[in-house]
Subunit: 168 residues, 2 copies
């Protein structure tokens, strides 16, 4: 069965970006398993703000993958992505389909919608050795307790820790 | 030199207690290194709410240790603890003194005051495999970025992960 995987980085205090969207604290000195993960997924889903951030990276960072962007508003067409306005419905459809796993890229709002809907199967969180104090929280407006099983953990010499959970 | 160590447990989404102070999700099936840590410290400091929670545990959980409780209000005497109203000043004094390390037990408010004052040397955080969604946050009102060095990590079969950081 296809899985929906939240693969994301945060500070120790749970921010995915600092003040004014600052992501300069994210480690980029190594691949940290990204290449292998990217090869394992077939489809990406993300919110509109996350999409807009990805457009600032220079080249399009997700070539060759099916990519859906959730937005409630009309958006001018972009050949690299499809826009959709009902994340729960589309995610359910994608999960029923065949193919490689689905990467939930972010951000906060879409993560909370899909966690609350019980649609996320795994969380792979890269905890950075920093406390940011403010910014965009990874978890916000989660309306229930969610139990998980720790599948794996990986530590890097930079101090990065990858926590890999399965949602029960 | 004496160190101030924040030794504490949280959910993956950074709560030290759930709604209505719920701590039923904390693992208590093993010692998880607590006994060794408790033997290594000489003094405990905590906020008043944390103190009040500790009084509900049955017997006094911190026998044989010097214990300070921070409160802005008058408090009726308690032979097991000393009350103090200036956490930064007292902590600085304690750190200048001799003796075993100091355990910062909690909670949220006192952690933020001492982190912002740059007085915490190490964080040992027990991340539980659960998302609570709401409750008392571990980190709140932190007013600056704090860089850390990962010293050690320990994983338990229950899914508990201990992240041990040194603050730079």
């Amino acid at each position: 069965m296809r899985k929906l995987i939240l693969f994301i980085a945060s500070s120790l205090d749970g921010y995915i970006a600092g003040k004014n969207g600052d992501i300069s604290w994210l480690f980029t000195d190594q691949d940290y398993g990204y290449g292998k993960f990217f090869a394992s997924i077939g489809t990406l889903i993300m919110g509109k703000k996350t999409f807009e951030v990805s457009l600032t990276f220079g080249g399009w960072p997700y070539p060759g993958k099916k990519c859906y962007v959730f937005t409630r508003n009309k958006h001018k067409n972009d050949s690299r992505v499809d826009f959709a306005n009902n994340p729960v419905r589309l995610t359910k459809e994608l999960l029923k389909g065949h193919g490689k796993d689905i990467w939930l890229v972010g951000g906060s709002k879409i993560i909370s919608i899909l966690l609350n809907a019980g649609l996320i199967h795994e969380i792979r969180l890269y905890v950075h050795p920093i406390i940011l104090g403010s910014g965009i929280p990874l978890f916000k407006n989660i309306d229930k307790k969610i139990n998980m099983k720790l599948i794996k953990i990986k530590t890097y010499s930079s101090g990065l820790v990858q926590l890999h959970y399965k949602i029960i």
